[in-house]
């Protein structure tokens, strides 16, 4: 991007075509410089676009539009793998183009581990219909039946005549034809790329520093913004003294943002912005601001007192959302009763790249924005709402994301850049500091989980009562929300797979006082922590090996339907017959991961193995951790083994890397992560007070196995996270006999 800084505004306009009314963007200046972006095609027979995802050029290059955001999960590699496979395209003749936000692509919200599990058929269809169009074009030009032609190696061939035509040669004919909307998919044994460990498509750019993230985009005349926001969520500015800020060299202006509205959604959070000629000056100016705040309705929020409220709420009866058998009678009749409360704190996603965006107001009053967003259509809607324009007037470019983990599905930071761009009349780059990110995020819910089991004389669980209490994500969209919503209870709560005849699951109300949002695997984090931990407790109460007990509790092979016990259950948007909650698949994963870890082997003194299994986003993951406590009293996680049943997978290396990453992310949750609040403000601010796992703590090895499967694809990015923390906690119990029911372990002095 260095060239960009040195071109004049006039040259910029000329090169981007803006002078002529066209629109291109900063990123396409330097070829190979980060994600190549969408450029308007010229039409005619220079190229033919059978659908919105594929454009075949006369020179034979197949352009594939990646409409999903890349944040490390590998979608910019696996998406073209699927399309190119069906298209019978050569991998080295593909050009990947990052699509703008546009509803023509369908769902672009790269969240919920949905890219492959929801769009595998859509992507296959994009490739297959393009392939059939090219076959039809070749057949027409040779005057032979299409059924006699095959596509292979970036060309169409006619076996009888021996004729062949490269894809680029078919553009003219294909351009005259109607593209099919549906086509048959290839059979599995003919896959060329699906199921192959293709190298990461952005590997060269990443290792040479050329990859472009949200924070890296620059424009001529741009100002840099740093924003001071109210310490308490929803608070407002009373007064500002900006004299000292304006005196900082490089500071151009100080602008007060509008107060936050309710419901906040992804809209402006308010505060005071310092606009400057560079980031440092903006930060210096911001530090010199004197602001008096009204901390507002959440100004008294204190996480210690809130914890007591959560524990109290979870200890009292809630709203039953699933009822099987008669829990009360079973508890009454039980030989023994065991109860426990699990508590897990607020978390911050803390992606390495903090939220960052650049926006400019276009000549026609629209807005053009570049951002590290997981959801460019939400950028369109939010920016349009902020500026009072139509969403079609918002061009939302997607850069690479330096991590997302759910934070970047909320485009509040893009709205800030857009609003400031209009206010200042210049392009604006907003860069959040790490403290901004950790203090003003959309936090993962703090949670209390109450569990109670009745046991028979042999120690078998005959009843299970669980209450889930946490401030709901819904509160961000509806401040009146008072407790967990159905979609959150779907995440590892009502889909309980255990074969216990009497079960009642209850949701308990509590009001939110921070902005609540998604974090990688969402409510599955605390539900799995509690359920997998409590299941482990029951094993020891029964005097059984935890793995054997886990298999016993999963019961006979069967398919679970939470609706049969009165639960509203959406199964991640898919029918249960296509994506069943299948205990046989759970058991297979448990057996596999136990085998990988050498479950039952002799361990060094002081070591323990812990096991956990959890289904989320339609995939089942089992995890085993081996831990010990060192002489210094610190927990050491020696090794982690994971097995995932994600149905059909696209790129095994990227699936494994997601499992490795999820194990590390889960370790950070187990060991370190905790956000607290005082006087409405988040106390933690950077990686010193909000630590995450570092190399020195990383296990010697993280093993990942992908279960062979022909089932429809499940999610991959998130499902690896939930079983990790309970596997570690269970291993810690096996090693020491100490049961931990509260995260993070840091608070128990173990890190």
């Amino acid at each position: 991007m260095s060239e960009l800084r040195h071109i004049s505004r006039r040259e910029f306009l000329k090169r981007t075509g803006q002078a002529g009314g066209g629109l291109v963007l900063a990123l396409s200046f330097t070829a190979g410089c980060g994600p190549k972006e969408q450029v308007p095609t010229t039409g005619g027979a220079e190229a033919v676009a059978p659908n919105v995802y594929v454009n075949i050029r006369r020179d034979g290059v197949v352009e594939i539009y990646c409409h999903r955001s890349e944040m490390g999960q590998g979608i910019r590699t696996s998406l073209p793998q699927v399309i190119a496979d069906e298209l019978e395209a050569d991998w080295d003749k593909i050009e990947l183009i990052q699509a703008l936000g546009d509803e023509k692509y369908g769902d672009q919200n790269t969240d919920g581990s949905t890219s492959i599990r929801n769009q595998f058929d859509l992507l296959r269809n994009a490739g297959a219909t393009a392939r059939e169009m090219l076959i039809a074009a070749a057949a027409a030009s040779w005057d032979v039946p299409a059924g006699e032609c095959v596509a292979r190696d970036h060309a169409v061939h006619h076996e009888g005549s021996g004729k062949s035509a490269a894809y680029g040669e078919l553009v003219d004919t294909a351009a005259e034809m109607e593209a099919p909307t549906e086509a048959a998919f290839k059979s599995r044994e003919n896959y060329r790329y699906i199921g192959k460990a293709m190298d990461t498509i952005d590997g060269l750019d990443i290792t040479t520093g050329k990859a472009i993230y949200g924070i890296d985009t620059v424009m001529p005349d741009m100002l840099y913004a740093s924003i001071e926001r109210c310490p308490a969520f929803g608070g407002t500015v009373v007064s500002v003294d900006d004299a000292a800020a304006r005196a900082v060299p490089g500071v151009v202006d100080v602008v007060r943002l509008p107060d936050p509205t309710s419901p906040l959604l992804f809209n402006l959070l308010g505060g005071v912005a310092v606009l400057a000629e560079n980031t440092w000056a903006a930060m210096q100016g911001r530090a010199a601001l004197e602001i008096e705040w009204d901390r507002g309705a959440n100004g008294a929020h204190e996480s210690g007192a809130y914890k007591e409220q959560l524990l109290k709420a979870a200890a009292a009866p809630g709203n039953a959302v699933l009822t099987r058998g008669d829990v009360d009678a079973a508890l009454e009749a039980a030989d023994a009763v065991h109860e426990a409360i699990y508590y897990a704190p607020y978390l911050s996603q803390a992606p390495m790249e903090p939220p960052a965006a650049i926006a400019r107001i276009t000549e026609d009053g629209g807005c053009e924005a570049w951002s590290c967003t997981q959801n460019p259509q939400a950028v369109q809607e939010t920016v349009a709402g902020t500026l009072g324009i139509d969403k079609k007037q918002v061009r939302a470019h997607v850069t690479l994301l330096g991590g997302g983990f759910g934070r970047k599905s909320k485009p509040d930071f893009v709205a800030e850049a857009a609003w400031l761009a209009r206010e200042s009349g210049r392009p604006i780059k907003v860069t959040w500091t790490r403290e901004d990110d950790i203090r003003h995020g959309y936090f993962h819910s703090v949670s209390a989980q109450y569990l109670k089991a009745g046991l028979d004389a042999e120690g078998n669980a005959t009843s299970w009562l669980q209450r889930s209490c946490f401030p709901s994500i819904t509160s961000t969209f509806n401040p009146a929300a008072t407790g967990p919503s159905s979609f959150e209870l779907d995440l590892g709560f009502v889909d309980n797979p255990y074969d216990i005849p009497n079960m009642r699951l209850e949701a308990c109300d509590i009001k939110a006082h921070l902005r609540i949002g998604w974090l990688r695997s969402v409510c599955n984090v605390f539900h799995a922590f509690a359920v997998c931990g409590f299941v482990d407790e029951l094993a020891y109460l029964a005097g059984e090996d935890p793995k054997d007990h886990l298999l016993k509790l999963l019961g006979d092979p069967r398919q679970i339907d939470p609706a049969a016990d009165g639960a509203e259950y959406s199964n991640y948007g898919h029918p249960l017959d296509k994506h069943p909650i299948d205990t046989a698949r759970f058991a297979a994963v448990v057996e596999k991961v136990a085998d990988m870890a050498g479950w039952g082997r002799g361990l060094p003194d002081g070591h323990g193995l812990g096991i956990a299994v959890h289904r989320s986003f339609l995939s089942i993951v089992g995890a085993v951790a081996e831990v010990s406590v060192g002489d210094d009293g610190k927990l050491v996680v020696h090794e982690i083994w994971t097995a995932i049943d994600a149905g059909t997978t696209i790129n095994p290396d990227r699936v494994k890397s997601q499992m490795e990453g999820a194990a590390t992310f889960g370790m950070s949750i187990a060991l370190h992560g905790e956000i607290t609040a005082r006087d409405g403000a988040v106390v933690e601010g950077n990686y010193d007070t909000y630590p995450v796992v570092r190399m020195s703590e990383a296990p010697q090895a993280i093993h990942a196995h992908i279960m062979e499967s022909t089932a429809p694809p499940g999610g991959v990015g998130e499902p690896g996270v939930p079983p990790v923390a309970p596997a570690i906690v269970n291993a810690y119990y096996a090693a020491t006999g100490n049961r931990v029911r509260e995260l993070p372990l840091r608070k128990a002095g173990l890190t």
Partner: protein, 152 residues
Amino acid sequence: MAIEFSLNGKPVSLDVDADMPLLWALRDIAGLTGTKFGCGKALCGACNVHLDGQVMRSCVVPVSVAAGRNVTTIEGLAEDGSHPVQIAWRELNVAQCGYCQPGQIMSAVALLERNPNPSDADIDAAMSGNICRCGTYTRIREAIHKVAEGQS
């Protein structure tokens, strides 16, 4: 005032506040965005560059410290990505989101220059200042060993 130093082997003169951290001088003034902002407090290593061959956290080093010295950023390591560390990173597909990797690579290069055959403990000690939120640590270890063994 103008601060003069060698940036990736070429002389540069940057007209900046002497207190501006080298990170922002590189990114906003020199236009080299490969060096990343992660924490601003020398906690994460995303901003690591080499100053006269030593790893330096550019987010807390004033640009004036670089005056008259040699600064190497990820862009100056090997523009075509041919440095053995860069090659090993690609061969093992180390990167996930990739954001921290320029800093990781700069740390790894410096480690291997002073210790061509590091143990796991050496790697942990040298690399623990670099946070990767995606969790690529085990592959980073493997990649460093691969370079040490001359396999890339």
